[in-house]
Amino acid sequence: MKILKLPKDKLDYFASVVQQFGEVHAPVEQDGKYVFKRLTRWSEARLAYDRTILPPKKYFLPPKEPLLVYRPGEGYVAPAGDVQHRLVLFGVHACDVYALNILDLVFAGKYPDPYYQARRKNIAIIGIDCVPDGKCFCRSMRADFVDHGFDLFFCDIGGHYLTFVGSALGDDMVLATETLFETVSPADIDEYKRRSGAKHEAFQLDVEIRDLPEIFEMEYGSAIWDDLGAQCLSCGSCSAVCPTCYCFDMNDEAVLGSRAGTRSRNWDSCLFSTHALVAGGENFRESRSSRIKFRFYHKQRGFVAEYGRPSCVGCGRCITACPVDIDIVEVLAALRETRHAATH
């Protein structure tokens, strides 16, 4: 991988050059929290942020998105839409890039999703490293570092950002700024290693994911799920903010006075009582406890079977977004806990 470094005081200039590659969006502050937003000025960007309310998922799988337009005589046609719109997301954390790599698995496969794919092509990602806080456990989920899925990735090494060039587009960005980037010295590499080690030590949360799938199978009937079901409000916040939750619903809305209409997809959640409901009223996950169990099960067990790793990246968003303090780290710890005296 091509690795360079950028003097920190040149970041502003670099950002101004990057505009030619698309509309720049970055975290900005909103009443004490952060959101990815279109910048009107570079000074609005907050690159030292904890986590955004919504992950970058919102750009690739928008909460509500028209998929097809139907007109009598013409059939179903994809709307002109904005999938080709070029954006640059500036300041994406490693876990969020990792989460996109996970979504890539889902939206590729036998039936690649053209809307997602087009956006993935047209939205550039400039990653940035971060300092874990009390809700982060990406280290445990092996998502504290990413080696692909971005165009550029910046790591703070004091006076410079060590810059990983992850794509041809990223290389173009570097080349467009000509002399800004410098070559990396052995001292820079040492500094990177020191900081990376310090970051590794800085995590306050730890989850052991070894044999979690097996534990999930064994604890399928655990009373934990009943307790969680009694607590959970089925509000859907956790899945909305989760960078790897992708369930969606598809609905048609007719144009007044016509059969013409728009078929759109909207975020859905496995926590909703309608998620597994079928015609005639049968509901495969009627109880709230079966639904919250499913969310955890699918992330930590089902996804592993399907794609070889859990779909959680440890970003901590669901912990911050749950009104009744349901905490994935605590749930996983409780599942692992031994509660019975040894029999022999």
Binding site: I53, C232, L233, S234, G236, L256, R288, T320, A321, P323
Partner: protein, 248 residues
């Protein structure tokens, strides 16, 4: 296909849902050309008050014998009866805490004369007649109303979200008032469809659309109590717009 015969009626309420219909300025002329509007007292004076109707849209709740009789009459003449607005769907604001205390409230308000007034306990429409479709909201949302008419003209019931406001609040990426500021917000219990308008304005959801499917009121109550909201206020808040919600 002949145009469906339609009527729009108001029982006791604030007329907000009928006003929302009149507020569909961009669609109004289309709406009235697609429907054969036979009976719409708030907007027309040449109403046919007897004809059979394909669709009756009824706003307001039942608060008097007169309301009850009108509603029953509307039901008789209509193939499909649509409850519009939280009063019609849930009883609405004026139904809260009314039942049981009616005599006292009347006395207090009108003095002894109040006893002669035609006032009854409050009922949501479905408690009196069969309701075919419910469009909730205080008032209803324009886009949900227009979508309902568009669907019904094609013979389909409209599809509305059943999940709570929190999900729409997240879709808008608003800050969470409940979590960040401990402000009692009814978002987790209230059915979405409003686009989480209030939290986007930094104002807590007051539940004007009534409960979401499978709302977990007990857990919400415990959560609010833990944040120090007095039980009395929690109870009132959660029941402001949907006093019939729990039992119906």
């Amino acid at each position: 296909m002949s145009k469906p015969r339609a009527g729009i009626f108001g029982l006791t309420g604030c007329a907000g849902d009928q006003l929302v219909i009149l507020n569909c300025e961009d669609e109004l002329l289309d709406l009235v050309s697609l429907l054969d509007m036979r009976d719409f007292l708030m907007a027309a004076s040449d109403n046919d008050t007897a004809c059979d109707l394909d669709i009756a849209l009824v706003e307001g709740a039942v608060f008097s014998r007169r309301d009850k009789e009108r509603l029953e009459r509307i039901r008789q003449r209509s193939a499909m009866l649509v409850a519009i607005g939280s009063c019609a769907v849930w009883g609405g604001v004026s139904a809260a805490e009314r039942n049981g205390g009616l005599a006292g409230l009347l006395d207090e308000t009108y003095g002894t004369q109040g006893r002669d007034y035609d006032a009854t306990e409050a009922y949501a429409l479905h408690q009196v007649v069969k309701v075919d479709l419910k469009i909730t909201g205080c008032p209803i949302e324009k886009h949900e109303f227009v979508a309902a008419v568009a669907s019904l003209l094609n013979g389909d019931p409209p599809v509305y979200p059943q999940y709570p406001v929190c999900t729409e609040c997240k879709m808008r990426e608003s800050n969470c008032l409940l979590i960040e500021k401990s402000i009692p917000c009814c978002g987790p219990l209230t059915v979405a469809g409003c686009g989480a308008r209030c939290p986007a304005l930094r104002i807590p959801c007051i539940g004007c659309r009534g409960p979401a499917a499978d709302a977990n009121a007990e857990s919400a109550r415990q959560m609010l109590a833990a944040k120090g909201v007095p039980e009395h206020d929690i109870r009132q808040r959660l029941r402001t717009f949907a006093p019939t919600g729990g039992s119906a």
